[in-house]
């Protein structure tokens, strides 16, 4: 390893601001035999116009033919900017140095036709990438643009539809597809052009976990079956790490380190880097626990279990049986304690359609954080819209502080009681800057009392307070659409919080956020909870709910199938549980998060 490091640094030693970049890459192999590099980035620097700081700083690495390369790093570290450089039409404006070679040829010298054909690029949002109204037309779009003959397009389209399993929805309108199907269609329509390299920019951030896993499975299959080179950025590293040949970690526009996933684990552990937060759970646990023997960093849950077996043997920790908790144990709550109660709610969208919500009962304690988990399309979002009075159940009622939700006036309900954070924060943004956006919520910047603002506090004081709570300082003069996903989410939350809700309802707030933003978001929620706000959220994100919620519920078949504290809720489940629990359940059935497992391992009381 040190040899290769020396070699790499020698190559780049001319750069004065080059910091401790560790190339763990096995460069001997890459330079002599083995497949040649398909894409080579040579000392790339880039700064957006009118910005001092470079978005990309002396980036150089190679991608070998047929390789599966994962690019990861905190949001805003320059991943997306880097990926956009690999396709000329997408390259942002700004000052640029260095070059990118594709197959030994400078990217700018390639014709547009050659680029669109050989470099496939899948973007983040499944909906926005689709151009036409029919699935088959979308598949053919790229080939049409390149001027292929009908007969050839017919063959290619047929091929793609068969390979990706699209036959069943080949004739459908794209509007009828689910998010996962849409993203798969995007992938298929890119693959129809037979690209040599496939670049994917956080392709699963808008998908639910099952669709995301399917999608990444297909990407892996393409890499394995067709030998297409893959360059991928991702937040769900659990899924992609086992398949990755190499990982490049970026930080602040620079390459922090690169190497195989195992090497990355070792390296980050050595540096004790905060990037670990984003790594797969087994790697997180590995990083926190020191063992006497040197063992390779586990990537998957399976590896993690083996590793844990070895550690437990060494520490002489014996397996432990899981206790069964009466999950649905109904504790009697005092009436004053209940802020929200749903009684026997039945709902369907249409008279002829099946029930979506079937006899739902739910009560929320004042000041608790309740997370409702469940599969896609089970009716979680519908439940949320019933609670927020957007939809009316045909039987049953919703009580807020003991009073029927229908008897609240609009003002009483939405100003000072319920706060609803929509799934897409963009659907709340009206103004040009973040600051105006916040003042818009309290009826303008003028310090005049009006019906939209009734607090005794001065407006700017209120806004300032919220800005502090939601960490929006420094972003006040940006355009809301220029913020990153996590920042947009926080701005939307800030807007809702200006209404001073007692009960905050959220629809998948962690969708598309990376682990730092999630952590930050959780801290904000914690602060709100301390001020007495009750939080109800629906989510797919098991790890997030396990770490931060007070109570979790599983929504299934129109009802809450089970609920309990995260520990009792997840500890008994075999499949529907966190990765940490799946890994460590044999020894520590009650450990639900990575932190729990690490703590249990470091706790010496059970060592014999």
């Amino acid at each position: 390893m040190s040899e290769s490091m020396g070699k790499e640094t020698k190559q780049n030693s001319s750069k004065s601001d080059k910091k401790n970049i560790n190339h763990i890459d096995n460069s001997i192999e890459s330079q002599t035999d083995g497949p040649g590099s398909i894409l080579e980035i040579k000392d790339l620097c880039f700064a957006y116009p009118e910005e001092e700081k470079r978005a990309l700083n002396h980036i150089s690495f190679q991608i070998k033919e047929g390789e599966f390369l994962v690019l990861c790093g905190k949001s805003g570290c320059g991943k997306s900017t880097l990926l956009k450089h690999m396709k000329t039409p997408l390259t942002p404006h700004g000052k640029r140095k260095g070059e990118i070679l594709f197959d030994g040829k400078n990217l700018h010298e390639m014709t547009g036709r050659e680029q669109s054909q050989r470099i496939g690029y899948v973007l983040q949002n499944p909906d926005n990438q689709i151009v036409t109204d029919k699935v088959w037309h979308e598949l053919a779009f790229g080939l049409e643009s390149l001027g292929y003959k009908s007969a050839e397009i017919r063959i290619r389209v047929a091929e793609m539809a068969s390979y990706f399993g699209i036959q069943d929805w080949f004739y459908k309108n794209v509007a009828e597809l689910s998010g996962g199907q849409k993203q798969l269609l995007n992938l298929a329509s890119i693959m129809a052009m037979h690209p040599d390299i496939l670049i994917l920019d956080e392709p699963t951030s808008q998908l639910d976990p099952i669709a995301a896993s399917d999608f990444l499975g297909t990407v892996k299959k393409i890499n394995r079956d067709l030998g297409t080179t893959i360059l991928l950025t991702e937040h769900h590293l659990e899924e992609v790490f086992p398949a990755a040949d190499r990982v490049v970690v970026m930080e602040g526009g620079e390459v922090l380190c690169m190497g195989t996933p195992e090497e990355i684990g070792e390296e980050l552990k050595k540096q004790n880097h905060e990037m670990f937060l984003a790594m797969p759970v087994p790697m997180q646990i590995y990083a926190k626990v020191n063992s006497g023997k040197h063992m390779e960093c586990p990537i998957t849950v399976r590896d993690g279990r083996n590793w844990l077996n070895a550690i437990c043997k060494e520490k002489q920790i014996r397996p432990q049986e899981a206790e069964f908790f009466g999950k649905d144990a109904k504790e009697k709550l005092a009436k004053e304690e209940i802020i929200l109660e749903a009684k026997d709610i039945w709902f369907r969208y249409d008279k002829d359609q099946p029930d979506v919500v079937k006899g739902l009962n739910l009560s929320l304690k004042r000041g608790e954080f309740f997370a409702l988990l469940g599969g896609n399309g089970t009716g979680k979002s519908t439940t949320l819209s019933i609670i927020s009075r957007l939809r009316k159940p045909y039987r049953g009622k919703v009580l807020l502080e003991g009073k029927d939700v229908r008897r609240y006036s609009e003002k009483e309900l939405f100003r000072g009681f319920l706060g609803v954070l929509p799934q897409n924060p963009q659907s709340l943004f009206v103004k040009k800057t973040v600051e105006l956006e916040l003042f818009e919520m309290v009826g303008g910047t003028k310090e005049k009392k009006n019906e939209e603002y009734h607090l005794a506090m001065e407006k700017c004081e209120a806004v300032e307070g919220i800005v502090k709570v939601t960490h929006l300082e420094g972003l006040l003069h940006r355009h809301p659409y220029d913020l990153s996903g996590g920042e947009q989410q926080r701005l939307a939350l800030a807007k809702i919080l200006l209404l001073r809700p007692k009960l905050l309802l959220m629809d998948e707030p962690t969708k598309g956020l990376d682990s730092y933003f999630k952590k930050e978001f959780a801290e904000i929620l914690d602060l709100l909870k301390k001020q007495g706000v009750t939080i109800f959220m629906i989510s797919h994100d098991i790890e997030f709910c396990a770490s931060y919620a007070d109570r979790c519920g599983l929504f299934f078949d129109g009802n809450i199938a089970a609920s309990g504290t995260p520990k009792s809720f997840f500890a008994g489940n075999n499949f529907y549980t966190t990765a940490a629990n799946r890994m460590a359940r044999k020894y520590f059935p009650m450990a639900v998060t990575a932190a729990d497992v690490a703590e249990a391992l470091l706790d010496d009381s059970r060592c014999v």
Partner: protein
């Protein structure tokens, strides 16, 4: 369920409707209109079923027919056969009465044929045909059809979001509701423009803008289409030939002259040719259904034979 004629090449579908609606609109001969009405109703029953066809005709066609039939003699006073005088002194003539009836029938026929047209000529087919003429237009149409449902759905999402911060368009004063409506629209437009950038990126990534774009379609022109086209061509040509010869000449002003009643050899030719043309889709569908039945019977027979054989062996 798709009917047989819809599965033919879009060009045939289009030509057929142009032909049949063209004749209906331009030929005011009562027998021709009756044939067209018969064909139209039969096809609409096949496509939509009895219930919907009857409902459509009761709700739209018959009131329409009455209005047009009554309006014409009220405002037109040509013709030589005067039945009486209106209260303002204008003559009420037989010719204008009859012409009103004919017009009404023509309108109903056209409406029925158009109702079939909207079912058979789906957006794909339309886009395909126009793509042949103007390639850029077909993509624009397809993108519109993609965009409109997306836009409407997003409008719902945004309106829900606004409702949840107490800004609904459903209650409050009119000014306030209008204000909230404008806010929703403004968010929607920003959202659409912002997201369109990504769509354009995606198009550029897939080589849009390169020279020599082709238009792909799933439709193939095969032997069946050629045969059908030949038949359509022949029957339509015969009809037109008859028209040009004046076998079915008719006029309503100033005097009613309707040739072809009673039947002559020439007019019979025209009627038959047009009848064949206008019932073509119905016949195709019925023939198809008949064949299916026959095949099914054969299968049943074969099964029975097997069963007996098995019984004997036992």
């Amino acid at each position: 369920m798709k009917d047989t004629f819809s599965t033919y090449h879009p060009l045939l579908n289009m030509l057929y409707f142009v032909g049949v609606i063209g004749v209906t609109v331009f030929v005011v001969h009562p027998v021709i209109l009756a044939i067209s009405l018969f064909g139209g109703i039969a096809y609409s029953v096949l496509l939509k079923g009895w219930k919907k066809t009857v409902k459509f005709n009761l709700i739209f066609s018959i009131p329409m027919m009455l209005i047009v039939a009554l309006m014409n003699p009220m405002f037109n006073h040509y013709g030589v056969t005067i039945i009486g005088y209106l209260h303002n002194g204008n003559p009420f003539t037989l010719e204008s009465c009859v012409y009103g009836l004919v017009m009404a029938m023509m309108l109903v026929c056209t409406m029925i044929w158009f109702s079939c047209y909207t079912i058979v000529m789906t957006s794909d087919k339309f886009i395909y045909l126009f793509g042949k003429i103007i390639p850029a237009l077909s993509l624009v149409l397809s993108m519109c059809l993609r965009f409109v449902p997306k836009f409407i759905r997003e409008a719902g999402v945004i309106s829900d979001g606004q409702k949840c911060i107490g800004r609904s368009t459903e209650n409050g004063s009119l000014v306030k509701r209008a204000k909230h409506g404008i806010t929703i629209f403004s968010i929607l437009v920003t959202w659409a423009l912002e997201n369109a950038i990504e769509t354009s990126d995606s198009m550029k990534c897939r080589g849009y803008g390169e020279k020599g774009r082709t238009a792909f379609s799933l439709y193939r022109f095969d032997k069946r289409d050629i045969l059908c086209l030949l038949f359509m061509g022949a029957s339509f040509a015969l009809t037109l030939f008859g028209f040009s010869k004046g076998y079915t000449f008719c006029q309503y002003n100033p005097k009613i002259i309707v040739k072809g009643i009673p039947l002559t050899a020439g007019s019979l030719l025209v009627y038959l040719a047009f009848l064949l043309f206008s019932v073509l889709p119905v016949v195709l569908e019925l023939w198809d259904r008949y064949q299916w039945k026959q095949r099914r019977k054969q299968v049943e027979k074969a099964e029975q034979a097997n069963y007996r054989l098995w019984e004997v062996q036992d």
